[in-house]
């Protein structure tokens, strides 16, 4: 589903590479943690997968398609197959919960009928059915992240990328978000989650890829956060 082959990425302003000869592959339906200290290159991996950045060296492929030579006009098509959530939720403050989720479908020309059908379904899945008409500022952080996950998942992506989704949340709320991501993973969606929350990683016992200064220093199935240190 995802493949990085000897990928090196240097930002124009950066002195050392953000990613340095990184190679790994993720199969369809896997759940993978990307861990490492701040600045180790986790976000850069996700940006490459979204083709917000292009690697300088090496190959990046998603769903069998190389992103290196993908023309700009094909990028929207790629992104429709990838859902994405962030630490800061990125909801539109002037839209309701329902509208925030529907927005993701409207802008890719889904029919109003399909939108009416799928949005309540996904709100149900994330446990926000009763709060469809709330504004984002009327929700807790955990609920806002659920809206963001609903928006990322509503178009049934093949891959869900999560960049420190629990970074702003307390441990209990984080736990809820993790079980939601697990549930999404069980539907067959590949999940890649960047985090430095050791409790979560330890509790989940999933594959762990650890980065340090842009290099992979560990790739372990059923890993925990602290091993090797």
């Amino acid at each position: 589903m995802i493949r990085l082959q000897n990928v090196t990425k240097v930002y124009p302003a950066g002195a050392r590479p953000a990613l340095d000869d990184v190679t790994f592959a993720v199969e369809k339906g896997e759940f993978v943690f990307l861990i490492g200290q701040s600045g180790s290159g986790k976000t850069t991996v996700l940006r490459l997968l979204l083709r917000e950045e292009v690697s300088d060296v090496g190959l990046v492929a998603v769903n069998g398609r190389s992103l290196n030579k993908m023309p700009r006009r094909k990028v929207p098509e790629l992104r429709r197959k990838i859902g994405c959530v962030f630490q800061d939720f990125r909801l539109l403050p002037k839209k309701t919960v329902y509208e925030n989720v529907a927005f993701a479908l409207e802008v890719i020309n889904k029919s109003p009928k399909a939108i009416k059908r799928t949005v309540p379904e996904v709100l149900d899945l994330v446990g926000l059915n009763g709060k469809a008409q709330r504004m984002p500022n009327e929700l807790s952080g955990g609920e806002q992240q659920r809206v963001a996950i609903a928006r990322a998942f509503v178009n049934r992506p093949l891959v869900l990328l999560a960049d420190e989704p629990t970074g702003n949340l307390d441990p209990d709320t984080s736990q809820g978000i993790m079980s939601l991501l697990e549930r999404i993973n069980r539907t067959g969606t590949t999940v890649v989650m960047a985090t430095h929350d050791n409790n979560i990683v330890d509790a989940m016992r999933r594959r762990v890829i650890e980065l340090e200064f842009g290099k992979i220093i560990r790739d372990q199935s059923r890993g925990v956060y602290g091993v090797g240190r």
Binding site: P76, L78, C84, L92, I108
Partner: protein, 303 residues
Amino acid sequence: MRANFVVSGVFAGIRRNATMTIALVLSTAIALGFVGAAILANTEITKFRQKYEDKINVSVYLCAQLHTADPNCTEKTTPEQTAAIKQMLDSDPLVQSERYVSEQEAFQRGKEQLAGSTGNFLHLGDLPASFTVKLKDLQKDYAAFAAKYAKVTGIGRVNNQIDTINTLLNIIDSARWFSIIIAIVVLVASVLLIANTIQVAASQRKNETSIMRLVGASRWMTELPFMLEAVIAAAIGGLVAIGLIWAGKHYVLDNIFEGPTRHGVIPNLSINDVLVAGGSGLIVGIVLSGITAFLTLRFYVRL
């Protein structure tokens, strides 16, 4: 494309940027008003030329019965003199064609022009017969022609209308250039204003557009609302401009040139001409704003 989704986005955007949109509408209205004025001046010049094309010719007046102060006319031109003059015109290399206007015809025309009771004081024979002469090159040869024929016995005076017409044409032509220059200046201002408005709108809606990109909205989908906003503002400006042109014609032109147009000296501009000029301005506005928006989005904003 889901039309109502896009449209509601556009109107939300216009409302959010109301003051800038109003500025944009006004400046395009003024710019397109002058575009229309320039087109209208052009129409007028064309009409003018058409109207006077066959009239820009020389009248060679013979002598009438009536004694005038004209020293060339001591007595009425005889038919022999008339024939000799015709002969002379026929063989003159400067002349393209000529036509004899009899006293009877001059009388008829005079009566028509002096409509009403004044016409009753005009009698057959008051106005001289004449030759209406078309020169091959009026501008170049008129002076020589006039000098040559003024001395011929039986000819009262030689006359042409070109000076009056040229003066009028020059006035209209200056008005046209004035309109073109102002139109260009204000169009440049409008274009800059459109580019600026789009940049502001794009940064205001950065959240929205970055999410659109993230979930895989096409480039068109992201850019279209901004383009439509610019085009709609320009179109409203174009409609206002049509109103301005009409008002300008109705209240200014029609008042200043009321006399001449009524007498048919200046060809009248119809409401149709106003609509054509204003409509062309509207199209210019729509095309220009669309292109400006497109280029701004491609090269300065990069959503």
